[in-house]
């Protein structure tokens, strides 16, 4: 991950991994990997940590709702279900706020959902490409194109000028 200035986040988030009731089975991966450490300071690392926390919250709330719905129907259960749904709505709004805040940075977080739970969040960033290279970095693409010499000739016998790195055959 490239070092970039840390921006003020949308909220002073408490990393769920530092909480005593942390449920690791609901903590999603980010870009297929474990999210960065809670104290990460790089901007893109912070984005990953915050998106992971947002979807962790949604996963936990969803799990509570699923457990509740397994109970027999009753007035109390329906009242509790309403609360759970309101909680999910609040968390979705918080997730949307997070997306809004980081959208101008070019960050896009797309959840991969399995059985109602976000298991992975695919995040792309504005300042680096999919390979982690700064988008503003110049880079070269090289190709090896073998050109056979006429039979019996050596490269040094040829009256051609070839420029660029790696164009001379290795010395014997």
């Amino acid at each position: 991950m490239n070092d970039t200035p840390l921006m003020d986040g949308p909220s002073l988030m408490t990393d769920p991994r530092s909480l005593p009731d942390f449920e690791p089975q609901h903590y999603p991966r980010v870009n297929g990997k474990a999210p960065p450490a809670p104290h990460a300071t790089d901007q893109n690392d912070r984005i990953e940590v915050e998106f992971a926390a947002a979807y962790y919250g949604l996963n936990c709330a969803h799990a509570r709702l699923v457990r509740l719905r397994q109970q027999p129907d009753s007035t109390e259960r329906r009242a509790e279900e309403k609360k759970r749904l309101q909680e999910i709505e609040r968390l979705l709004i918080a997730r949307d706020d997070l997306e809004d805040f980081y959208a101008p940075f070019g960050a896009i977080g797309e959840p991969i959902v399995k059985d109602g739970f976000t298991v992975n969040v695919m995040i792309s960033f504005g300042n680096v490409d999919a390979f982690g290279r700064l988008r503003s970095d110049a880079y070269t693409i090289t190709a090896c194109v073998p050109v056979p010499l006429p039979q019996g000739m050596k490269f040094d016998d040829m009256c051609v000028t070839v420029e660029g790195p790696g164009t001379r055959p290795p010395a014997n």
Partner: protein, 337 residues
């Protein structure tokens, strides 16, 4: 006749505008020049009657680097982007070319025109559609409107318009729901053909806006191609807006664009080495430039609907096309809850 190779290696939007200068060079100076072009976007020059392949090694060929320094006066003088390359050619060639049309000049072959549209190839039906571009390049994030606002426009027009989302895979184009998703799946020539068949275009100030004006119209078209541009305050409308377009801007409404476009590039620093203070937006609302924040989905919806009297919508729209016709590959659905 003088042989010219007109060169420009800028973005496809710029080269689209260059096509206007080549057209007007020939219209204003008929039979004086043979022109070829050297750009990164040959797809924009296909079937162009003003382009003749020339040999760059031919000593009779003059190569001209085409630019538009006139942009430096875009906030003060009554100029359109189309004037930019033309003025530069006038300076370099000692001519007096006048713009004959405020639009680029992109042609389709008869075969291309007769082929079913990309949408028809996907769906099997000639469905009316609008193109939507909900993002842009990373080097100019200030042009971006918010994804949630683009989505709100799509949602509110769901029963009336079908949108096809396009955008280069290497740029910022977050996925919209309820649209046909062709992001990263179109070549530039595909886009030209897609524009030809489109009922309209919705976009920020981007290549697609120039294409909407430049791609030739269908023979039965009554007016220029509808296009709604979410522009904000970066660029003066006089420089960017095309006749017939709804160019939603905030020039004159904010201190930072009180008398003209700010021409800044970034909403927030991205930390990619291209952030400099003079390029950074000075007035943001939750990281969105205030000028873009001031443009609401309602305004955009109203602008799109203002074109409705031009053509009768068919009953095919996003509201029912997803139900039974669209292969899932091309659609985005809600991912959670």
């Amino acid at each position: 006749m003088q042989k010219l190779i007109l060169a420009n290696y800028q973005a496809p939007g710029d080269v689209t505008v260059l096509t206007a200068a080549v057209r007007d060079l020939h219209r204003c100076c008929p039979d004086r020049f043979i022109t070829d072009v050297d750009t990164d976007w040959p797809e924009l020059w296909e079937n162009n009657p003003y382009v003749t392949p020339l040999n760059a090694a031919d000593i009779e060929v003059r190569r001209i680097e085409c630019r538009y320094p006139l942009i430096s006066f875009s906030n003060e003088r009554p100029l359109h982007f189309v004037h930019g390359f033309i003025d530069d050619l006038n300076q370099q060639l000692g001519l007096d070319i006048k713009p004959t049309r405020i639009a680029g000049d992109i042609y389709l072959s008869d075969e291309e025109k007769s082929q079913p549209s990309l949408m028809e190839q996907i769906t099997g039906e000639a469905i009316p559609y609008w193109i939507i571009v909900a993002g842009g390049k990373f080097d100019c994030t200030i042009k971006w409107w918010h994804i949630r606002r683009w989505q709100a426009v799509v949602d509110r027009l769901r029963d009336r318009f079908l949108f096809v989302q396009v955008g280069a895979g290497r740029h910022y184009h977050p996925p919209l729901k309820g649209v046909i998703d062709l992001r990263g799946r179109t070549s530039l020539r595909d886009l030209v053909r897609l524009v030809y068949h489109a009922d309209g275009v919705l976009c920020p100030v981007t290549c697609m806006m120039h294409l909407a004006a430049a791609v030739e119209m269908k023979p039965d078209a009554l007016s220029p191609r509808p296009c709604v541009v979410v522009a904000g305050g970066r660029e003066p409308a006089t420089w960017e807006a095309y006749p017939g377009h709804r160019f939603l801007h905030t020039i004159g409404m904010l201190p930072c664009c009180a008398t003209g476009g700010c021409w800044r590039n970034r909403s927030v620093p991205l930390g990619d080495g291209k952030d400099t203070a003079h390029r950074l937006c000075v007035d943001t609302v939750n990281n969105l430039p205030r000028c873009m924040h001031m443009i609401t989905p309602e305004q955009v919806v109203e602008a799109i609907r203002s074109y409705e009297p031009l053509g009768e919508r068919t009953k095919l729209c996003a509201g029912n096309i997803f139900d039974h016709r669209m292969p899932p590959l091309f659609t985005n659905v809600a991912a959670i809850c």
